[in-house]
């Protein structure tokens, strides 16, 4: 079965650069979530989209922005990168925006290293 696809899998950037992470949800899933997992930490919710509209917002820095496109894929844009942004970024998708009864399926993550 098709899973959540994230690209790239690995990304190396320097401080103050920008980065764009992409997420392709499972077919027919209309909700996308972004999480950040620092080294040795649990995933922290950043932001979510349902039917191309932002539906919930967590601890996403102002330097980051995200959107969901008409084909339901999502992109996380990160600007003015800092060393502390180095982390594993997960995208998850689910079907149906309301209610967490819809299970979130996670992608393999994008590992961002900021040098």
């Amino acid at each position: 079965a098709a899973g959540v696809i994230q690209s790239p899998r690995h990304l190396i950037k320097e401080k103050r650069e920008t980065a764009t992470l992409k997420c392709y949800p499972i077919p027919r899933h209309d909700t996308v979530y972004w999480y950040q997992q620092g080294p040795g930490q649990d995933p922290q919710f950043l932001i979510s989209f349902y039917e191309k509209m932002q539906s919930d917002k967590g601890s996403i820095p102002d330097r980051f922005s995200a959107q969901q496109f008409s084909d339901y894929h999502s992109e996380l844009n990160m600007s003015s990168l800092e060393l502390g942004d180095s982390a594993l970024y997960f995208c998850a998708s689910s079907r149906g925006g309301q209610g967490s009864k819809n299970i979130q399926y996670f992608g393999a993550g994008t590992r961002l290293s900021v040098l």
Partner: protein, 114 residues
């Protein structure tokens, strides 16, 4: 506020032993969902189980079983006859019934030694 506590940071067992991973949660919601996810060394997060707050029935799936006790706000996970492939970090997570974002616990690193 919602919070998930996994008191065991790391556990090591020998293959074929049973092991229980503890999860205690806090929420003011009367309806909510609880989840367990597995994160193997390869890094992806693998869904294991979802439990809603109405249903305190325990569940068994192969070598895995879950014990949900609302009275003690616990949702513990037991692996029977552990195998080396069970070595991973296991996360317990909580979500409000009508919300979307998960709150994860800090995770428990399980090492199963041959």
């Amino acid at each position: 506020a919602q919070k998930v506590t996994q008191a065991q940071t790391e556990i090591s067992v020998v293959e074929k032993e049973d092991v229980t991973l503890d999860c205690v949660y806090e929420t003011r919601d009367t309806t909510y969902y609880l989840f367990w996810y597995k994160q193997p060394p390869s890094g992806e997060l693998v869904f294991l189980i979802r439990r809603n707050s109405f249903d305190e029935q325990n569940e068994i799936s192969g070598r895995y079983s879950w014990n949900f006790q609302k009275s003690t706000s616990s949702f513990n996970f037991t692996i029977t006859a552990s195998q080396v492939v069970d070595s991973a970090v296991y996360f317990c997570a909580l979500s409000p019934y009508y919300g979307q974002n998960f709150v994860f616990g800090p995770g428990t690193r399980l090492s199963v030694l041959p």
